[in-house]
């Protein structure tokens, strides 16, 4: 039920961009003058300089994971973004690459008769073996996929992903290690050296990412890339125009599988071990989140999404940074969404005053009601200590508040005008109290909840992603 004229609106997006004025126009013009390989070189230099700044191990790990997820999102983009095949078994290829690396560089094959010490190949041999194997498995899955359309394809691939976890978990525990996974893997080695740190793998992954981006850019503009987009936009019409639909589908699966396996090879080596839980559907959801957040169908979008999701997730999991992110997001939402600015200022003042008054009242009634342990540390913690209410039984209090908060949020969406304004003030305060008393205590759980909420809100606000462009879907 698209409003009439939506095709026209999309078709004219180029014209509208031409007519833009002000700083945004200048920025776009400057951006257009930089060619794609210059941008890529800029990204490479930025990545290299970032690595050289010499941060601690935590930041190195996050940086490595960002690049890893960017690679994974790029691979997924080939299948989902370009060829338009909804592949929910993508994670299996990532796992395939990881387990492939693990088997070829550990004692795992030692359980078989003839390889008593296991197999320990140099990386220069492993990468081609694993990638070719992954490509062949991709062809196999692609052949299966030829018979299926749309959601049916999504369903079958979802089970392929599940089946992979089941297989490595249950079949031949001496070879795949079962639940305990495979560990004690060799680092990448060859040419007389080896990579021994997260830092090293960060550079390795960065080089892979840059090469991959260049390759994918060329692929995107090639005959194949254009044919994929034709396939995505309308398979039947593409077939009628003699586009080899079947070949393209198989190719898309195969290419996606190769990229995912490549990511798996670097992931397994960096972690030094592989476990079935590394390839659960929650990881798949995270990869999808990267791609969808960045914008399906674009190379830059996939990379941006990979970096954003990883950094946000890492921040949410850290007890210090999660407070910055939480209060920052609330503040940002108020600053961006509340218009005019007088009302916005009034709201901020009202929230601050409401908190101080509430705390004073509750503190006057019972001292125990405001003397609970506070979650946040650093300067935010100091500020919050004088503002929010956290009673001594803070966990139960926080749980109740959490339930109340969800009801209040639903109510806010339903209300309009002055009532919404009135309700937002105590809700924000309740959110702060809930955060301090409960949510920050279990950052792992909270991270998942906030991530889920970000996905839901993001999809409602901008379904095409950060860098995506709107396009009309033919159903």
């Amino acid at each position: 039920m698209a409003p009439i004229g939506v095709d026209e609106w999309v078709a004219r997006s180029g014209e509208r961009r031409e007519q833009m004025s002000g700083p945004r126009r200048l920025l776009e013009m400057a951006g257009e003058r930089v060619s794609w390989w210059q941008r890529l070189a800029m990204l490479a230099i930025a990545g290299f300089v970032f690595g050289q700044l010499g941060f601690n191990l935590n930041i190195d790990t996050v940086a490595f994971n960002s690049v890893l997820y960017a690679i994974l999102a790029l691979g997924l983009n080939i299948v989902v973004g370009w060829a338009g095949l909804l592949d929910l078994g993508y994670i299996a290829f990532f796992g395939f690459g990881s387990y492939g690396y693990a088997l070829l560089s550990s004692h795992a094959f030692g359980s078989l008769v003839n390889f008593s010490g296991g197999v320990h190949l140099p990386i220069i041999a492993i990468i081609p073996i694993v990638l070719v194997a992954a490509g062949l498995v991709g062809v196999l899955i692609g052949l299966v996929a030829l018979r299926l359309h749309g959601d049916y394809l999504a369903i079958v691939t979802l089970f392929v992903g599940q089946a992979f976890v089941e297989v490595v978990n249950n079949i031949d525990p001496t070879l795949f290690g079962g639940n305990n996974g495979l560990f004690g893997l060799d680092p990448w080695h060859g040419f007389g050296g080896s990579i021994g740190s997260v830092h090293g793998y960060y550079y390795a992954a960065l080089v892979m990412l840059i090469i991959l981006m260049a390759g994918l850019h060329l692929l995107d503009g090639s005959r194949t890339g254009r044919a994929w987009r034709a396939l995505r936009d309308d398979p039947l019409a593409a077939e009628a125009m003699t586009v080899p639909v079947n070949l393209l589908k198989v190719m898309a699966f195969s290419f996606g599988a190769i990229v995912a396996a490549l990511a798996g090879v670097v992931f397994a080596a960096q972690q030094g071990s592989v476990f079935p839980t590394n390839f659960q559907s929650s990881v798949l959801i995270l990869i999808y989140a990267c791609l969808v957040l960045g914008g399906v169908g674009g190379i830059a979008g996939a990379v941006l999404g990979g970096i954003t999701v990883t950094v946000v997730e890492a921040m949410l999991r850290s007890p210090t940074d999660s407070s910055y992110l939480f209060y920052g997001l609330i503040l940002l939402a108020i600053l961006v969404r509340v218009r005019p600015w007088q009302r916005m200022v009034a709201m901020l003042v009202a929230i601050a005053a409401f908190g101080l008054v509430m705390r004073a009242i509750v503190g006057a009634i019972s001292h125990a009601a405001i003397s609970g342990p506070h979650g946040s540390i650093g300067w935010i913690g100091t500020v919050m200590r004088h503002w929010v209410i956290v009673p001594t039984g803070s966990i139960t209090f926080g749980n109740i508040l959490y339930a109340v908060l969800i009801c209040a949020l639903i109510l806010i969406v339903r209300l309009h005008g002055i009532w919404r304004f009135v309700l937002i003030v105590p809700t924000v305060y309740a959110a702060a109290c809930c955060w301090e008393s409960r949510l920050i205590v279990d950052t792992g759980i909270t991270a998942q909840i906030v991530l889920g909420a970000i996905l839901v809100v993001m999809m409602a606000a901008r379904p095409s992603g950060l860098l995506g462009t709107r396009r009309v879907e033919v159903l």
Binding site: M1, I155, V296, L455, P463
Partner: protein
């Protein structure tokens, strides 16, 4: 022979539970063409609601009201609450995305699933609970027929499931709501033009589908299955398989698919290995999809250029 019949009984019970969840999946897919990944988590929420109702009435070994009343209260409260939750999810998460690209509601569904699972984990903790059914429905209440044990709970589950499916069948085929639901499923725009309140129909569909998931959750708890915040994922996946095997979007298909999956699981667990039962179920799914992509009762989708 005893083992065979016992396996059939087990398969029938699990199959009925899967069928109830699968029905919700299928109905939602029918009207919205959306794979609602959060549906399995609604089943989990239903199981938790039942658990806390037992605790509310004094705990499993010291119930303060008669057992049959507890069961009725559990089923009713869970159905209404989970149904309401489903409607709220539809209203706030899926409705804004009716015209968005296909992938957007899918991601939203995954996000909702994250939120539900982890909210329960946050509020109630991650440890595994159980209804502890044997302490209020004693073992002596089961039927023993030539070596085959059928507990009264199993009888109740099958009877209730059959009754609910029959009720659903009547609801969909004989009432005005069912008619408008089928109309929305076949062509939403045309249905709207003919004066059907599409939003209300979709909300009602979510209510009915989610309520059945809630009831299934309580019944699985009564069958003394372990309850934790992650049970929704696997149950959802199995029910999903059931819906697909039967033909997604088709209501008799979901019932048959649920039974097929239940029997497959029970037979592979008792005759082959319980370790591989999940793999076998997935294998059946993939085989079915390749031989008959639209499922047993499904109709192949029309392709439009």
């Amino acid at each position: 022979m005893q083992i065979f019949i016992q396996t059939i009984v087990t398969g029938l019970v699990t199959g009925c539970l899967y069928a109830l969840i699968a029905l919700g999946y299928s109905m939602v897919y029918g009207v919205l063409k959306l794979l609602n990944f959060a549906h399995g988590d609604l089943y989990m929420v239903g199981a938790f609601i039942g658990y806390y109702i037992i605790q509310w009435f004094g705990g499993s070994s010291a119930l303060i009201i008669p057992v049959w009343l507890v069961i009725i209260v559990m089923l009713l409260v869970s159905a209404v609450a989970v149904g309401g939750l489903g409607v709220a999810i539809e209203r706030f998460a899926y409705r804004p995305l009716r015209d968005a690209p296909r992938i957007a509601p899918l991601i939203t569904a995954l996000g909702i699933s994250f939120i539900l699972e982890d909210s329960v984990l946050l509020l109630f903790g991650g440890y595994v609970r159980s209804y502890n059914t044997p302490s209020f429905i004693p073992y002596s209440a089961s039927f023993h027929i030539s070596g085959v044990n059928i507990s009264s709970m199993q009888v109740l589950i099958v009877a209730l499931s059959v009754a609910m499916m029959a009720g659903l069948f009547v609801l969909v085929n004989r009432t005005l709501f069912g008619k408008s639901m089928r109309a929305v499923a076949s062509d939403r725009e045309a249905a709207e033009m003919l004066g059907i309140n599409v939003n209300r129909t979709i909300a009602m569909t979510f209510f009915v589908g989610s309520a059945m998931a809630g009831v299934a959750g309580v019944m699985s708890g009564l069958a003394n299955e372990p309850i934790s915040n992650i049970i929704g994922f696997l149950a959802g996946l199995k029910a999903f398989t059931a819906a697909v095997v039967g033909g997604i979007g088709s209501i008799p298909g979901a019932m048959v698919g649920g039974l097929v999956i239940g029997f497959c699981e029970a037979f592979s667990a008792s005759y082959i290995s319980s370790q591989y039962s999940d793999l076998i179920v997935f294998g059946i799914l993939i085989a079915t999809m390749l031989i008959r992509p639209q499922g047993i009762f499904g109709t192949p989708p029309l392709q439009k250029v």
